[in-house]
Point group: C2
Protein backbone atom coordinates (compact mmCIF):
# COMPACT_ATOMS: atom_id res chain seq x y z
CA UNK A 1 0.00 0.00 0.00
CA UNK A 2 1.24 3.47 -0.84
CA UNK A 3 0.78 6.53 1.31
CA UNK A 4 -1.25 8.05 -1.51
CA UNK A 5 -3.78 5.21 -1.31
CA UNK A 6 -4.36 6.05 2.33
CA UNK A 7 -4.74 9.69 1.40
CA UNK A 8 -7.06 8.89 -1.53
CA UNK A 9 -10.24 9.58 0.39
CA UNK A 10 -8.91 13.02 1.31
CA UNK A 11 -7.59 13.85 -2.14
CA UNK A 12 -9.89 16.79 -2.76
CA UNK A 13 -9.17 18.47 0.56
CA UNK A 14 -5.46 17.80 0.33
CA UNK A 15 -5.22 19.52 -3.02
CA UNK A 16 -7.16 22.44 -1.60
CA UNK A 17 -4.57 22.69 1.20
CA UNK A 18 -1.83 22.41 -1.40
CA UNK A 19 -3.28 25.37 -3.28
CA UNK A 20 -3.60 27.34 -0.05
CA UNK A 21 0.03 26.58 0.73
CA UNK A 22 1.01 28.01 -2.61
CA UNK A 23 -1.22 31.02 -2.11
CA UNK A 24 0.19 31.59 1.37
CA UNK A 25 3.74 32.16 0.21
CA UNK A 26 2.74 34.40 -2.66
CA UNK A 27 4.53 37.69 -2.10
CA UNK A 28 5.39 40.59 -4.31
CA UNK A 29 9.02 40.16 -3.31
CA UNK A 30 10.53 38.15 -6.17
CA UNK A 31 13.36 36.31 -4.42
CA UNK A 32 11.24 35.41 -1.41
CA UNK A 33 8.51 34.19 -3.68
CA UNK A 34 10.82 32.13 -5.82
CA UNK A 35 12.72 30.68 -2.86
CA UNK A 36 9.55 29.70 -1.00
CA UNK A 37 7.92 28.27 -4.09
CA UNK A 38 11.05 26.32 -4.95
CA UNK A 39 10.84 24.75 -1.52
CA UNK A 40 7.14 24.04 -1.76
CA UNK A 41 7.50 22.45 -5.18
CA UNK A 42 10.23 20.16 -3.88
CA UNK A 43 7.31 18.36 -2.32
CA UNK A 44 7.23 16.21 0.73
CA UNK A 45 4.70 13.87 2.16
CA UNK A 46 2.53 16.62 3.66
CA UNK A 47 2.10 14.31 6.61
CA UNK A 48 1.30 17.19 8.95
CA UNK A 49 -1.62 18.59 6.93
CA UNK A 50 -2.95 15.06 6.42
CA UNK A 51 -2.93 14.47 10.17
CA UNK A 52 -4.71 17.77 10.71
CA UNK A 53 -7.47 16.81 8.28
CA UNK A 54 -7.87 13.32 9.68
CA UNK A 55 -7.96 14.57 13.27
CA UNK A 56 -10.46 17.16 12.11
CA UNK A 57 -12.87 14.30 11.48
CA UNK A 58 -13.02 13.64 15.21
CA UNK A 59 -15.10 16.78 15.76
CA UNK A 60 -16.98 19.15 13.47
CA UNK A 61 -15.04 18.97 10.23
CA UNK A 62 -14.63 22.47 8.82
CA UNK A 63 -12.03 22.75 6.07
CA UNK A 64 -11.84 26.54 6.32
CA UNK A 65 -10.90 26.25 9.97
CA UNK A 66 -8.63 23.26 9.49
CA UNK A 67 -6.64 24.93 6.74
CA UNK A 68 -5.66 27.66 9.18
CA UNK A 69 -3.92 24.96 11.18
CA UNK A 70 -2.76 22.67 8.39
CA UNK A 71 -1.09 25.36 6.28
CA UNK A 72 0.86 26.94 9.20
CA UNK A 73 2.08 23.54 10.38
CA UNK A 74 3.44 22.65 6.96
CA UNK A 75 4.94 26.15 6.64
CA UNK A 76 6.69 25.81 10.00
CA UNK A 77 8.06 22.47 8.90
CA UNK A 78 9.28 24.03 5.64
CA UNK A 79 10.85 27.00 7.41
CA UNK A 80 12.71 24.69 9.77
CA UNK A 81 14.09 22.82 6.75
CA UNK A 82 15.38 26.03 5.20
CA UNK A 83 17.16 27.01 8.39
CA UNK A 84 18.37 23.44 8.81
CA UNK A 85 19.99 23.50 5.42
CA UNK A 86 21.94 26.60 6.35
CA UNK A 87 23.31 24.82 9.40
CA UNK A 88 23.90 21.51 7.71
CA UNK A 89 25.56 23.19 4.79
CA UNK A 90 23.27 21.00 2.69
CA UNK A 91 23.28 21.48 -1.05
CA UNK A 92 20.46 19.14 -1.92
CA UNK A 93 17.26 17.97 -0.28
CA UNK A 94 14.79 15.60 -1.88
CA UNK A 95 17.03 15.63 -4.93
CA UNK A 96 16.63 19.39 -5.37
CA UNK A 97 19.02 22.22 -4.71
CA UNK A 98 18.39 23.77 -1.29
CA UNK A 99 17.48 27.44 -0.93
CA UNK A 100 20.86 28.22 0.60
CA UNK A 101 22.61 26.56 -2.30
CA UNK A 102 20.43 28.03 -5.07
CA UNK A 103 20.63 31.48 -3.48
CA UNK A 104 22.75 31.98 -0.36
CA UNK A 105 22.67 31.75 3.43
CA UNK A 106 21.24 35.21 3.83
CA UNK A 107 18.32 34.46 1.55
CA UNK A 108 17.81 31.11 3.27
CA UNK A 109 17.73 32.74 6.70
CA UNK A 110 15.20 35.38 5.74
CA UNK A 111 13.13 33.00 3.66
CA UNK A 112 12.86 30.83 6.76
CA UNK A 113 11.96 33.84 8.91
CA UNK A 114 9.40 34.93 6.36
CA UNK A 115 7.75 31.51 6.19
CA UNK A 116 7.65 31.27 10.01
CA UNK A 117 6.01 34.67 10.22
CA UNK A 118 3.58 33.78 7.44
CA UNK A 119 2.55 30.68 9.36
CA UNK A 120 1.76 32.87 12.35
CA UNK A 121 -0.32 35.37 10.42
CA UNK A 122 -2.47 32.48 9.17
CA UNK A 123 -2.97 30.64 12.44
CA UNK A 124 -3.79 33.85 14.31
CA UNK A 125 -6.80 34.29 12.04
CA UNK A 126 -8.43 31.65 14.23
CA UNK A 127 -10.12 33.12 17.27
CA UNK A 128 -8.96 30.42 19.69
CA UNK A 129 -5.81 31.62 21.51
CA UNK A 130 -5.18 28.09 22.81
CA UNK A 131 -4.22 27.08 19.29
CA UNK A 132 -1.81 30.03 19.01
CA UNK A 133 -0.24 29.03 22.30
CA UNK A 134 0.25 25.38 21.37
CA UNK A 135 1.83 26.35 18.08
CA UNK A 136 4.26 28.91 19.44
CA UNK A 137 5.29 26.58 22.27
CA UNK A 138 6.11 23.90 19.71
CA UNK A 139 8.14 26.37 17.65
CA UNK A 140 10.13 27.24 20.74
CA UNK A 141 10.84 23.60 21.54
CA UNK A 142 11.89 23.00 17.93
CA UNK A 143 14.48 25.77 18.19
CA UNK A 144 15.86 24.27 21.37
CA UNK A 145 15.99 20.89 19.64
CA UNK A 146 17.97 22.38 16.79
CA UNK A 147 20.41 23.98 19.20
CA UNK A 148 20.76 20.69 21.04
CA UNK A 149 21.58 19.03 17.76
CA UNK A 150 24.41 21.50 17.19
CA UNK A 151 25.61 21.06 20.76
CA UNK A 152 25.66 17.28 20.37
CA UNK A 153 27.43 17.19 16.99
CA UNK A 154 30.15 14.51 17.07
CA UNK A 155 29.47 13.84 20.73
CA UNK A 156 29.97 10.07 20.89
CA UNK A 157 29.40 10.06 24.65
CA UNK A 158 25.78 11.15 24.43
CA UNK A 159 23.14 8.77 25.74
CA UNK A 160 20.20 7.21 23.92
CA UNK A 161 17.96 9.29 26.17
CA UNK A 162 19.76 12.36 24.94
CA UNK A 163 19.05 11.38 21.34
CA UNK A 164 15.39 10.67 22.09
CA UNK A 165 14.89 14.01 23.83
CA UNK A 166 16.43 15.76 20.87
CA UNK A 167 14.28 14.13 18.19
CA UNK A 168 11.26 14.66 20.40
CA UNK A 169 11.82 18.39 20.14
CA UNK A 170 13.15 18.42 16.62
CA UNK A 171 10.49 16.25 14.97
CA UNK A 172 7.94 14.50 17.14
CA UNK A 173 6.41 17.57 18.76
CA UNK A 174 5.30 19.20 15.51
CA UNK A 175 3.69 15.97 14.35
CA UNK A 176 2.08 15.55 17.77
CA UNK A 177 0.49 18.98 17.66
CA UNK A 178 -0.62 18.46 14.05
CA UNK A 179 -2.84 15.65 15.30
CA UNK A 180 -3.79 17.55 18.43
CA UNK A 181 -4.65 20.81 16.69
CA UNK A 182 -6.79 19.09 14.06
CA UNK A 183 -8.87 17.79 16.95
CA UNK A 184 -8.84 21.12 18.83
CA UNK A 185 -9.78 23.14 15.75
CA UNK A 186 -12.72 20.84 15.05
CA UNK A 187 -13.79 21.07 18.70
CA UNK A 188 -13.42 17.37 19.32
CA UNK A 189 -13.60 16.16 22.93
CA UNK A 190 -10.49 17.10 24.96
CA UNK A 191 -9.71 13.44 25.65
CA UNK A 192 -9.60 12.80 21.90
CA UNK A 193 -7.26 15.75 21.40
CA UNK A 194 -4.95 14.34 24.09
CA UNK A 195 -4.97 10.93 22.46
CA UNK A 196 -4.23 12.49 19.11
CA UNK A 197 -1.23 14.24 20.62
CA UNK A 198 0.02 10.88 21.93
CA UNK A 199 -0.55 9.21 18.62
CA UNK A 200 1.32 11.94 16.74
CA UNK A 201 4.14 12.05 19.24
CA UNK A 202 4.80 8.31 18.94
CA UNK A 203 4.47 8.31 15.17
CA UNK A 204 6.83 11.28 15.05
CA UNK A 205 9.46 9.51 17.12
CA UNK A 206 9.25 6.42 14.89
CA UNK A 207 9.33 8.64 11.82
CA UNK A 208 12.59 10.32 12.84
CA UNK A 209 14.26 7.07 13.89
CA UNK A 210 13.36 5.55 10.50
CA UNK A 211 14.66 8.63 8.78
CA UNK A 212 17.94 8.33 10.65
CA UNK A 213 18.21 4.63 9.74
CA UNK A 214 17.43 5.40 6.13
CA UNK A 215 20.28 7.89 6.00
CA UNK A 216 22.60 4.94 6.65
CA UNK A 217 20.90 2.33 4.47
CA UNK A 218 19.47 4.24 1.54
CA UNK A 219 21.02 5.08 -1.82
CA UNK A 220 21.52 8.64 -3.04
CA UNK A 221 18.63 8.11 -5.45
CA UNK A 222 16.24 6.97 -2.71
CA UNK A 223 17.29 9.70 -0.31
CA UNK A 224 17.52 12.65 -2.67
CA UNK A 225 20.86 13.41 -0.98
CA UNK A 226 24.08 11.41 -0.42
CA UNK A 227 23.81 8.69 2.25
CA UNK A 228 25.73 9.22 5.48
CA UNK A 229 24.79 12.92 5.46
CA UNK A 230 23.92 12.84 9.15
CA UNK A 231 27.27 11.38 10.04
CA UNK A 232 29.16 13.84 7.88
CA UNK A 233 27.60 16.79 9.67
CA UNK A 234 28.19 15.18 13.07
CA UNK A 235 24.64 14.14 13.83
CA UNK A 236 25.07 10.97 15.91
CA UNK A 237 21.85 9.01 15.44
CA UNK A 238 20.31 6.03 17.20
CA UNK A 239 21.84 3.20 15.10
CA UNK A 240 25.26 4.77 15.64
CA UNK A 241 24.74 5.02 19.40
CA UNK A 242 23.71 1.37 19.51
CA UNK A 243 26.66 0.34 17.32
CA UNK A 244 28.99 2.21 19.68
CA UNK A 245 27.81 -0.09 22.47
CA UNK A 246 29.38 -3.09 20.70
CA UNK A 247 32.87 -3.52 22.10
CA UNK A 248 34.15 -5.38 19.02
CA UNK A 249 33.73 -2.34 16.77
CA UNK A 250 33.63 0.57 19.22
CA UNK A 251 37.27 1.60 18.85
CA UNK A 252 37.30 1.56 15.07
CA UNK A 253 33.99 3.36 14.95
CA UNK A 254 35.24 6.10 17.29
CA UNK A 255 38.34 6.46 15.16
CA UNK A 256 36.28 6.74 11.95
CA UNK A 257 33.96 9.29 13.51
CA UNK A 258 36.84 11.45 14.69
CA UNK A 259 38.36 11.26 11.20
CA UNK A 260 35.07 12.45 9.74
CA UNK A 261 34.92 15.28 12.26
CA UNK A 262 38.40 16.44 11.33
CA UNK A 263 37.63 16.26 7.60
CA UNK A 264 35.11 19.08 8.09
CA UNK A 265 32.29 17.73 5.95
CA UNK A 266 34.49 16.35 3.17
CA UNK A 267 34.94 12.87 4.63
CA UNK A 268 34.31 9.54 3.01
CA UNK A 269 31.69 7.76 5.11
CA UNK A 270 31.94 4.40 3.35
CA UNK A 271 33.75 2.62 6.17
CA UNK A 272 31.69 4.06 8.97
CA UNK A 273 28.46 3.09 7.23
CA UNK A 274 29.84 -0.38 6.61
CA UNK A 275 30.66 -0.75 10.31
CA UNK A 276 27.21 0.35 11.42
CA UNK A 277 25.44 -1.80 8.84
CA UNK A 278 27.45 -4.76 10.12
CA UNK A 279 26.43 -4.06 13.72
CA UNK A 280 23.16 -4.70 15.53
CA UNK A 281 22.63 -0.93 15.63
CA UNK A 282 20.19 -0.76 12.73
CA UNK A 283 18.06 -3.64 13.95
CA UNK A 284 17.92 -2.30 17.47
CA UNK A 285 16.93 1.16 16.24
CA UNK A 286 14.36 -0.43 13.99
CA UNK A 287 12.91 -2.34 16.94
CA UNK A 288 12.66 0.86 18.90
CA UNK A 289 10.79 2.56 16.07
CA UNK A 290 8.41 -0.41 15.96
CA UNK A 291 7.70 0.06 19.67
CA UNK A 292 6.78 3.69 19.09
CA UNK A 293 4.43 2.62 16.31
CA UNK A 294 2.78 0.13 18.67
CA UNK A 295 2.27 2.88 21.23
CA UNK A 296 0.87 5.16 18.56
CA UNK A 297 -1.66 2.57 17.51
CA UNK A 298 -2.59 1.88 21.13
CA UNK A 299 -3.40 5.58 21.54
CA UNK A 300 -6.12 5.15 18.90
CA UNK A 301 -8.11 2.63 20.92
CA UNK A 302 -10.72 5.09 22.16
CA UNK A 303 -11.47 6.36 18.66
CA UNK A 304 -14.70 5.11 17.12
CA UNK A 305 -14.04 2.19 14.80
CA UNK A 306 -14.37 3.99 11.47
CA UNK A 307 -12.44 5.20 8.41
CA UNK A 308 -10.61 7.89 10.34
CA UNK A 309 -9.16 5.41 12.78
CA UNK A 310 -8.32 2.99 9.99
CA UNK A 311 -6.46 5.73 8.07
CA UNK A 312 -4.48 6.76 11.14
CA UNK A 313 -3.57 3.14 11.72
CA UNK A 314 -2.58 2.60 8.10
CA UNK A 315 -0.34 5.65 8.10
CA UNK A 316 1.30 4.50 11.33
CA UNK A 317 1.92 1.08 9.82
CA UNK A 318 3.23 2.70 6.67
CA UNK A 319 5.74 4.73 8.63
CA UNK A 320 6.54 1.69 10.74
CA UNK A 321 7.31 -0.32 7.65
CA UNK A 322 8.94 2.09 5.36
CA UNK A 323 12.27 0.22 5.30
CA UNK A 324 11.04 -3.20 4.31
CA UNK B 1 17.23 66.40 28.78
CA UNK B 2 18.18 62.75 28.73
CA UNK B 3 15.91 59.92 27.69
CA UNK B 4 16.23 58.53 31.20
CA UNK B 5 14.73 61.70 32.66
CA UNK B 6 11.65 61.19 30.52
CA UNK B 7 11.52 57.57 31.66
CA UNK B 8 12.04 58.51 35.32
CA UNK B 9 8.36 58.40 36.18
CA UNK B 10 8.16 54.85 34.81
CA UNK B 11 11.39 53.65 36.40
CA UNK B 12 9.78 51.02 38.60
CA UNK B 13 7.75 49.46 35.83
CA UNK B 14 10.63 49.60 33.37
CA UNK B 15 12.89 47.67 35.69
CA UNK B 16 10.11 45.13 36.18
CA UNK B 17 9.96 44.69 32.39
CA UNK B 18 13.74 44.44 32.32
CA UNK B 19 13.62 41.60 34.86
CA UNK B 20 10.88 39.89 32.88
CA UNK B 21 13.00 40.18 29.75
CA UNK B 22 15.81 38.45 31.54
CA UNK B 23 13.50 35.80 32.91
CA UNK B 24 11.97 35.24 29.48
CA UNK B 25 15.20 34.10 27.88
CA UNK B 26 16.17 31.88 30.75
CA UNK B 27 16.59 28.41 29.28
CA UNK B 28 18.35 25.30 30.44
CA UNK B 29 20.26 25.29 27.17
CA UNK B 30 23.58 26.90 28.07
CA UNK B 31 24.62 28.43 24.73
CA UNK B 32 21.15 29.78 24.00
CA UNK B 33 20.98 31.23 27.45
CA UNK B 34 24.38 32.82 27.26
CA UNK B 35 23.85 34.15 23.74
CA UNK B 36 20.47 35.66 24.57
CA UNK B 37 21.66 37.13 27.82
CA UNK B 38 24.73 38.58 26.15
CA UNK B 39 22.42 40.35 23.76
CA UNK B 40 20.09 41.56 26.46
CA UNK B 41 22.94 42.90 28.56
CA UNK B 42 24.30 44.83 25.60
CA UNK B 43 21.39 47.11 26.42
CA UNK B 44 19.50 49.43 24.17
CA UNK B 45 17.05 52.17 24.76
CA UNK B 46 14.09 49.86 25.36
CA UNK B 47 12.05 52.36 23.42
CA UNK B 48 9.45 49.73 22.45
CA UNK B 49 8.61 48.65 26.03
CA UNK B 50 8.53 52.29 27.11
CA UNK B 51 6.01 53.10 24.37
CA UNK B 52 3.91 50.11 25.42
CA UNK B 53 3.80 51.31 29.01
CA UNK B 54 3.04 54.90 28.09
CA UNK B 55 0.29 53.87 25.66
CA UNK B 56 -1.02 51.58 28.39
CA UNK B 57 -1.87 54.71 30.36
CA UNK B 58 -4.49 55.60 27.75
CA UNK B 59 -6.77 52.81 28.98
CA UNK B 60 -6.83 50.61 32.07
CA UNK B 61 -3.19 50.33 33.02
CA UNK B 62 -2.41 46.71 33.94
CA UNK B 63 1.30 45.94 34.10
CA UNK B 64 0.74 42.18 34.00
CA UNK B 65 -1.09 42.53 30.71
CA UNK B 66 1.24 45.15 29.32
CA UNK B 67 4.34 43.08 30.01
CA UNK B 68 2.95 40.37 27.72
CA UNK B 69 3.15 42.91 24.92
CA UNK B 70 6.24 44.87 25.99
CA UNK B 71 8.51 41.85 26.48
CA UNK B 72 7.63 40.19 23.14
CA UNK B 73 8.14 43.45 21.25
CA UNK B 74 11.60 43.94 22.69
CA UNK B 75 12.41 40.28 22.08
CA UNK B 76 11.34 40.55 18.44
CA UNK B 77 13.53 43.60 18.09
CA UNK B 78 16.44 41.71 19.67
CA UNK B 79 15.91 38.65 17.46
CA UNK B 80 15.90 40.81 14.36
CA UNK B 81 19.22 42.31 15.46
CA UNK B 82 20.76 38.85 15.85
CA UNK B 83 19.66 37.82 12.37
CA UNK B 84 20.72 41.21 11.04
CA UNK B 85 24.22 40.73 12.34
CA UNK B 86 24.51 37.43 10.49
CA UNK B 87 23.59 39.17 7.27
CA UNK B 88 25.66 42.27 7.89
CA UNK B 89 28.64 40.21 8.92
CA UNK B 90 28.79 42.59 11.86
CA UNK B 91 31.31 41.91 14.57
CA UNK B 92 30.27 44.56 17.03
CA UNK B 93 27.04 46.27 18.00
CA UNK B 94 26.74 48.85 20.75
CA UNK B 95 30.45 48.35 21.38
CA UNK B 96 29.95 44.65 22.19
CA UNK B 97 30.77 41.55 20.20
CA UNK B 98 27.73 40.29 18.28
CA UNK B 99 26.33 36.81 18.87
CA UNK B 100 27.53 35.66 15.47
CA UNK B 101 31.02 36.90 16.23
CA UNK B 102 31.21 35.59 19.82
CA UNK B 103 29.77 32.23 18.74
CA UNK B 104 29.01 31.63 15.06
CA UNK B 105 26.36 32.08 12.38
CA UNK B 106 24.57 28.87 13.30
CA UNK B 107 24.21 29.91 16.92
CA UNK B 108 23.13 33.37 15.83
CA UNK B 109 20.46 31.97 13.52
CA UNK B 110 18.96 29.67 16.12
CA UNK B 111 19.30 32.21 18.92
CA UNK B 112 17.25 34.54 16.76
CA UNK B 113 14.71 31.82 16.01
CA UNK B 114 14.52 30.96 19.68
CA UNK B 115 13.95 34.56 20.75
CA UNK B 116 11.25 35.02 18.08
CA UNK B 117 9.48 31.88 19.27
CA UNK B 118 9.82 32.95 22.88
CA UNK B 119 8.19 36.26 22.06
CA UNK B 120 5.24 34.39 20.60
CA UNK B 121 4.77 32.10 23.57
CA UNK B 122 4.54 35.18 25.78
CA UNK B 123 2.16 37.26 23.69
CA UNK B 124 -0.15 34.29 23.10
CA UNK B 125 -0.76 34.14 26.86
CA UNK B 126 -3.06 37.10 26.27
CA UNK B 127 -6.58 36.04 25.34
CA UNK B 128 -7.08 38.68 22.66
CA UNK B 129 -6.29 37.17 19.24
CA UNK B 130 -6.27 40.65 17.66
CA UNK B 131 -3.00 41.31 19.46
CA UNK B 132 -1.51 38.05 18.15
CA UNK B 133 -2.56 39.01 14.65
CA UNK B 134 -1.06 42.49 14.76
CA UNK B 135 2.22 41.15 16.07
CA UNK B 136 2.63 38.35 13.55
CA UNK B 137 1.70 40.65 10.70
CA UNK B 138 4.43 43.06 11.80
CA UNK B 139 6.95 40.22 11.99
CA UNK B 140 6.09 39.27 8.44
CA UNK B 141 6.55 42.80 7.19
CA UNK B 142 9.88 43.06 8.99
CA UNK B 143 11.15 39.97 7.17
CA UNK B 144 10.09 41.44 3.85
CA UNK B 145 11.87 44.67 4.81
CA UNK B 146 15.05 42.74 5.56
CA UNK B 147 14.87 40.97 2.22
CA UNK B 148 14.29 44.29 0.48
CA UNK B 149 17.37 45.63 2.15
CA UNK B 150 19.43 42.76 0.74
CA UNK B 151 17.84 43.23 -2.67
CA UNK B 152 18.67 46.93 -2.64
CA UNK B 153 22.28 46.61 -1.47
CA UNK B 154 24.52 48.89 -3.56
CA UNK B 155 21.59 49.85 -5.75
CA UNK B 156 22.35 53.50 -6.41
CA UNK B 157 19.34 53.81 -8.71
CA UNK B 158 16.79 53.23 -5.98
CA UNK B 159 14.33 56.02 -5.22
CA UNK B 160 13.76 57.86 -1.96
CA UNK B 161 10.32 56.25 -1.91
CA UNK B 162 12.01 52.87 -2.08
CA UNK B 163 14.15 53.74 0.93
CA UNK B 164 11.15 54.99 2.88
CA UNK B 165 9.12 51.86 2.19
CA UNK B 166 12.02 49.74 3.33
CA UNK B 167 12.60 51.51 6.64
CA UNK B 168 8.86 51.54 7.20
CA UNK B 169 8.91 47.74 7.22
CA UNK B 170 12.30 47.33 8.82
CA UNK B 171 11.88 49.76 11.71
CA UNK B 172 8.82 51.96 11.83
CA UNK B 173 6.17 49.23 11.92
CA UNK B 174 7.43 47.59 15.11
CA UNK B 175 7.56 50.94 16.86
CA UNK B 176 4.09 51.79 15.52
CA UNK B 177 2.58 48.59 16.89
CA UNK B 178 4.38 49.06 20.22
CA UNK B 179 2.34 52.20 20.71
CA UNK B 180 -0.79 50.65 19.25
CA UNK B 181 -0.63 47.43 21.27
CA UNK B 182 -0.06 49.27 24.55
CA UNK B 183 -3.36 51.01 23.85
CA UNK B 184 -5.12 47.83 22.67
CA UNK B 185 -3.91 45.77 25.64
CA UNK B 186 -5.17 48.42 28.05
CA UNK B 187 -8.48 48.54 26.19
CA UNK B 188 -8.13 52.18 25.29
CA UNK B 189 -10.61 53.62 22.76
CA UNK B 190 -9.97 52.36 19.19
CA UNK B 191 -9.40 55.92 17.96
CA UNK B 192 -6.62 56.34 20.53
CA UNK B 193 -5.02 53.07 19.42
CA UNK B 194 -5.08 54.29 15.83
CA UNK B 195 -3.49 57.58 16.81
CA UNK B 196 -0.86 55.72 18.77
CA UNK B 197 -0.04 53.68 15.70
CA UNK B 198 0.40 56.90 13.71
CA UNK B 199 2.53 58.44 16.39
CA UNK B 200 4.78 55.36 16.57
CA UNK B 201 5.02 55.04 12.83
CA UNK B 202 6.20 58.60 12.38
CA UNK B 203 8.58 58.45 15.32
CA UNK B 204 9.93 55.18 13.93
CA UNK B 205 10.60 56.68 10.51
CA UNK B 206 12.42 59.63 12.08
CA UNK B 207 14.32 57.26 14.34
CA UNK B 208 15.66 55.20 11.45
CA UNK B 209 16.56 58.25 9.35
CA UNK B 210 18.47 59.68 12.31
CA UNK B 211 20.18 56.36 12.81
CA UNK B 212 21.23 56.31 9.19
CA UNK B 213 22.56 59.87 9.43
CA UNK B 214 24.43 59.02 12.61
CA UNK B 215 26.18 56.16 10.86
CA UNK B 216 27.76 58.78 8.62
CA UNK B 217 28.45 61.50 11.21
CA UNK B 218 29.21 59.60 14.41
CA UNK B 219 32.53 58.40 15.78
CA UNK B 220 33.24 54.74 16.51
CA UNK B 221 32.95 55.53 20.21
CA UNK B 222 29.53 57.14 19.85
CA UNK B 223 28.20 54.41 17.56
CA UNK B 224 29.64 51.33 19.24
CA UNK B 225 30.69 50.24 15.75
CA UNK B 226 32.83 51.80 13.01
CA UNK B 227 31.16 54.69 11.14
CA UNK B 228 30.20 54.05 7.53
CA UNK B 229 29.04 50.53 8.38
CA UNK B 230 25.87 50.94 6.35
CA UNK B 231 27.82 51.97 3.31
CA UNK B 232 30.31 49.15 3.66
CA UNK B 233 27.56 46.58 3.62
CA UNK B 234 25.82 48.26 0.72
CA UNK B 235 22.95 49.83 2.58
CA UNK B 236 22.23 53.01 0.62
CA UNK B 237 20.56 55.38 3.06
CA UNK B 238 18.66 58.62 2.71
CA UNK B 239 21.59 61.09 3.00
CA UNK B 240 23.41 59.09 0.33
CA UNK B 241 20.41 59.13 -1.99
CA UNK B 242 20.10 62.89 -1.56
CA UNK B 243 23.84 63.39 -2.10
CA UNK B 244 23.59 61.34 -5.31
CA UNK B 245 21.15 63.94 -6.62
CA UNK B 246 23.88 66.57 -6.60
CA UNK B 247 25.44 66.61 -10.06
CA UNK B 248 28.73 68.09 -8.81
CA UNK B 249 29.58 65.03 -6.76
CA UNK B 250 27.42 62.30 -8.28
CA UNK B 251 30.10 60.76 -10.49
CA UNK B 252 32.76 60.59 -7.81
CA UNK B 253 30.24 59.25 -5.32
CA UNK B 254 29.13 56.51 -7.71
CA UNK B 255 32.73 55.62 -8.31
CA UNK B 256 33.48 55.42 -4.58
CA UNK B 257 30.40 53.30 -3.93
CA UNK B 258 31.31 50.84 -6.65
CA UNK B 259 34.86 50.61 -5.23
CA UNK B 260 33.37 49.81 -1.83
CA UNK B 261 31.13 47.18 -3.38
CA UNK B 262 34.08 45.51 -5.07
CA UNK B 263 36.15 45.57 -1.86
CA UNK B 264 33.66 43.17 -0.30
CA UNK B 265 33.33 44.76 3.13
CA UNK B 266 36.99 45.67 3.49
CA UNK B 267 36.78 49.14 1.95
CA UNK B 268 37.92 52.43 3.36
CA UNK B 269 34.86 54.67 3.56
CA UNK B 270 36.73 57.86 4.47
CA UNK B 271 36.29 59.54 1.10
CA UNK B 272 32.67 58.55 0.59
CA UNK B 273 31.74 59.85 4.03
CA UNK B 274 33.62 63.06 3.33
CA UNK B 275 31.69 63.51 0.08
CA UNK B 276 28.33 62.96 1.74
CA UNK B 277 29.18 65.19 4.69
CA UNK B 278 30.11 67.90 2.24
CA UNK B 279 26.80 67.57 0.40
CA UNK B 280 23.32 68.73 1.34
CA UNK B 281 22.34 65.08 1.87
CA UNK B 282 22.63 65.10 5.63
CA UNK B 283 20.67 68.33 6.06
CA UNK B 284 17.94 67.20 3.72
CA UNK B 285 17.62 63.85 5.49
CA UNK B 286 17.60 65.67 8.78
CA UNK B 287 14.80 67.91 7.60
CA UNK B 288 12.79 64.89 6.53
CA UNK B 289 13.22 63.31 9.95
CA UNK B 290 12.04 66.55 11.52
CA UNK B 291 8.89 66.41 9.38
CA UNK B 292 8.12 62.93 10.64
CA UNK B 293 8.56 64.15 14.20
CA UNK B 294 6.11 66.96 13.52
CA UNK B 295 3.57 64.48 12.21
CA UNK B 296 4.12 62.24 15.22
CA UNK B 297 3.42 65.11 17.58
CA UNK B 298 0.36 66.12 15.60
CA UNK B 299 -1.01 62.60 16.08
CA UNK B 300 -1.02 63.24 19.83
CA UNK B 301 -3.49 66.13 19.62
CA UNK B 302 -6.52 64.10 20.70
CA UNK B 303 -4.79 62.76 23.80
CA UNK B 304 -5.82 64.37 27.10
CA UNK B 305 -3.32 67.03 28.13
CA UNK B 306 -1.50 65.10 30.83
CA UNK B 307 1.82 63.46 31.73
CA UNK B 308 1.39 60.66 29.22
CA UNK B 309 1.06 63.06 26.33
CA UNK B 310 3.92 65.18 27.61
CA UNK B 311 6.19 62.11 27.84
CA UNK B 312 5.31 60.99 24.33
CA UNK B 313 6.05 64.48 23.08
CA UNK B 314 9.34 64.67 24.95
CA UNK B 315 10.50 61.34 23.56
CA UNK B 316 9.57 62.42 20.05
CA UNK B 317 11.53 65.63 20.50
CA UNK B 318 14.41 63.67 21.94
CA UNK B 319 14.55 61.43 18.90
CA UNK B 320 14.07 64.45 16.67
CA UNK B 321 17.04 66.17 18.23
CA UNK B 322 19.46 63.43 18.88
CA UNK B 323 22.10 64.81 16.51
CA UNK B 324 22.42 68.30 17.93
Amino acid sequence: MKLMDIYARLRGDISYIEKELERSIDTEHAVLNEASLHLLKAGGKRIRPVFVLLAGELGTYDLERLKRVAVPLELIHMASLVHDDVIDNANTRRGQLTVKSKWDNRVAMYTGDYIYAKALTIVTQLENPVIHRILSKAMLEMCIGEMEQIRDFFNTEQTVRNYLLRIRRKTALLIAISCQLGAVASEAKPELARRMYNFGYNVGMAFQIRDDILDLLGTEKQLGKPPGSDMRQGNITLPVLFALQESSIREELLHEISTIRDADGQADTYRVIQLIRGSKGVDRADAMAAKYIEKAIAALDILPDNKTRKNFKDIAHFIGKRLH
